[in-house]
Amino acid sequence: MTTTSTPAVPTPDVLGTPRQTERRAPRGRFSVGRTLKYAALLFFVVIVLIPVYVLLVTSFKGAGDASPARAWALPQVWTLENWQTAWTALSPAILRSLQMVVPAAIIAAFLGSLNGFVLSRWSFKGANVIFTLILFGMFIPYQAVMIPLNQLVLGLGIPSGVPSLILLHVVYGIPITTLIFRNYYMTVPHELVEAARVDGAGMLRTFWSIILPISIPSFVVVLIWQFTSAWNDFLFAVFFSSSQNGPVTLALNNLANGALLQNYGVSMAGALFASLPTLLVYIVLGKYFVGGLMSGSVKG
């Protein structure tokens, strides 16, 4: 049995490793329970992947190949036509989504780390109340602010589309980024901050030279989280942009629901284009992605 000591800087792989200590059935021997379990696990893999099969198969089918009888069959003729149409329709919106998501993620992450530091390691009387008040912003249904929000953004003269959406994703991202950084900084030993203070470092200096350098794992988690949620957002997109200046979720919805004659091949190819950036992040940085998910729960 191994004893694990808590590392000063937690690794983002919060799921931990499977317990190795006890194993009921010795390795290699047949067991009904274990076989059933693997069968069940594989069964669910098939279920979860059904939409992926549908998406790929339909996207490669030509217009004449869409009869209901052949709904689940492979394409008779494989064609890239849908992919080209979808790309032409969506690529400007994909670019706008990128322009929106990158600044929104960076600014919200930076604000979150400032707040997280102050609320955990430079805290003061009332810090907990302030934190709870900020956190509540994470849970509000945005419908409850949408009407005046529309008037406010209009009144401030911020152009509809990317600029408005950046502002909204920053503002409504603050609660979750603050939460993730605060929870992370809670694990930083007090002595580290106290030592800096004894050396005469002020708050800003402590933050800049002690806290920021050890914050990189948290920044990755927060940036991924913000990137994904802003990229996938539809609600703000509907209320604050149009098909001319909106992000890819809005463009995809228009593509799929706009035409009189539904062309599922094109919409499915479009759905994949719209999901590629977040899927890529998930595949490459999956470990951190899960870290972000965990931090999304208030008590980890």
Binding site: V14, G16, P18, R19, Q20, E22, R23, L41, F44, V48, I50, P51, T58, P68, W72, L111, V118, L119, W122, F124, N128, F131, L133, I134, F136, G137, F139, I140, P141, Q143, A144, V145, M146, I147, P148, L149, L152, V170, Y172, I174, L204, N232, F234, T249, L252, Y264, M268, G270, L272, A274, S275, L279, V281, Y282, G286, V290, M294, S297, V298, K299
Partner: protein, 300 residues
């Protein structure tokens, strides 16, 4: 006094940008929204300020809650939330439980189960609208066709086009997307239980069921609560899925978030705001006690 001010002063200064933003965009706008919701601002002329609006107090709320259409929306929201919660909790727990003991290829299973979380509701809606096609018999495609192929014809149904239960069909893609997230939460919960605890229970001769009932379930309950809160408040996101699978005008899949959008589109700002406030109250009743409780626990 002076000492605490010297500490709180710079801290508050650092928090200032976020506090102002959250203060205005969350709390200020909630207030402004409420103010709009108690007026007779039902027309475009009033929405743009060309005609004055008069305070009518809670008339809009009384009218909304008394109308059959809005009651249908609330009923739909409840149905959707119940199915969504039950589905994700059940699947998430089952998957985590199967992976609690060492499983070969755990990384693979985990990645497959979790990947739908990285996809936007709008993109998955494109595929699920195809899958949840209501045609049956000869014309069936989507899942209904698949049921025919595997010989489960009796499972064919008209999915989200059923007036009473249609909304629960919209919960299926939501379950598909978020079960992996709940699995990740539970898996972290399982791995957080010290092995000694299980060993001790086994030494005392506890049966496997008793072990779960008296040792593991109590340890998992905070995780389950977090999951319930997060998933529960996500059920308001049904908006994205409904917009992409059904249509805002469709009676059978109406929920308050969709009503709010429809009111806003027809420049009935007062009713849109009232729907928003009702949603806020529903969320706050659950969230505020949770946040306060979490805050208290941390102080201890």
């Amino acid at each position: 006094m002076l000492k605490s001010l010297r500490r709180a002063g710079p801290a508050l200064l650092m928090l200032a940008p976020s506090l102002i933003l959250v203060g205005v965009f969350v709390y200020g706008l909630i207030g402004a929204n409420f103010t709009t919701s108690i007026t007779d601002n039902h027309t475009a002329a009033q929405a743009t300020g060309q005609k004055p609006s008069v305070v009518v107090w809670f008339e809009n709320y009384v009218d909304l809650l008394g109308s059959e259409a809005f009651q249908h929306s609330l009923k739909n929201l409840v149905l959707y939330t119940v199915v969504f919660l039950a589905g994700t909790m059940l699947m998430g727990f089952l998957w985590a439980w199967m992976m609690d003991r060492p499983v070969k290829g755990e990384g693979f299973f985990r990645s497959v189960y979790l990947f739908p979380f990285a996809v936007s509701f709008v993109a998955s809606g494109v595929v699920w609208r195809w899958l949840l096609n209501s045609n049956q018999g000869e014309q069936a495609s989507g899942l209904n066709r698949l049921f025919q192929i595997v010989g489960l014809d009796f499972l064919q149904n008209n999915w989200w086009n059923n007036v009473t239960w249609g909304i629960t069909a919209i919960a299926i893609p939501a379950i598909w997307q978020l079960s992996g997230y709940v699995m990740a939460l539970f898996l972290a919960g399982f791995r957080g239980i010290p092995d000694e605890l299980r060993e001790a229970a086994r030494m005392d001769g506890a049966s496997e069921w008793k072990l779960y009932r008296h040792v593991l379930f109590p340890q998992l309950s905070p995780v389950a609560l977090s999951a319930l809160i997060i998933i529960g408040h996500m059920s308001l996101k049904a908006f994205d899925l409904i917009m992409s699978i059904s249509k805002p005008a469709n009676y059978q899949t109406k929920v308050p978030a969709v009503d709010m959008y429809v009111f806003k589109s027809s420049f009935d700002y007062a009713n849109a705001a009232a729907v928003g406030s009702i949603l806020l109250i529903i969320v706050a009743v659950v969230i505020v006690p949770y946040l306060v409780r979490t805050n208290r626990q941390e102080k201890r």
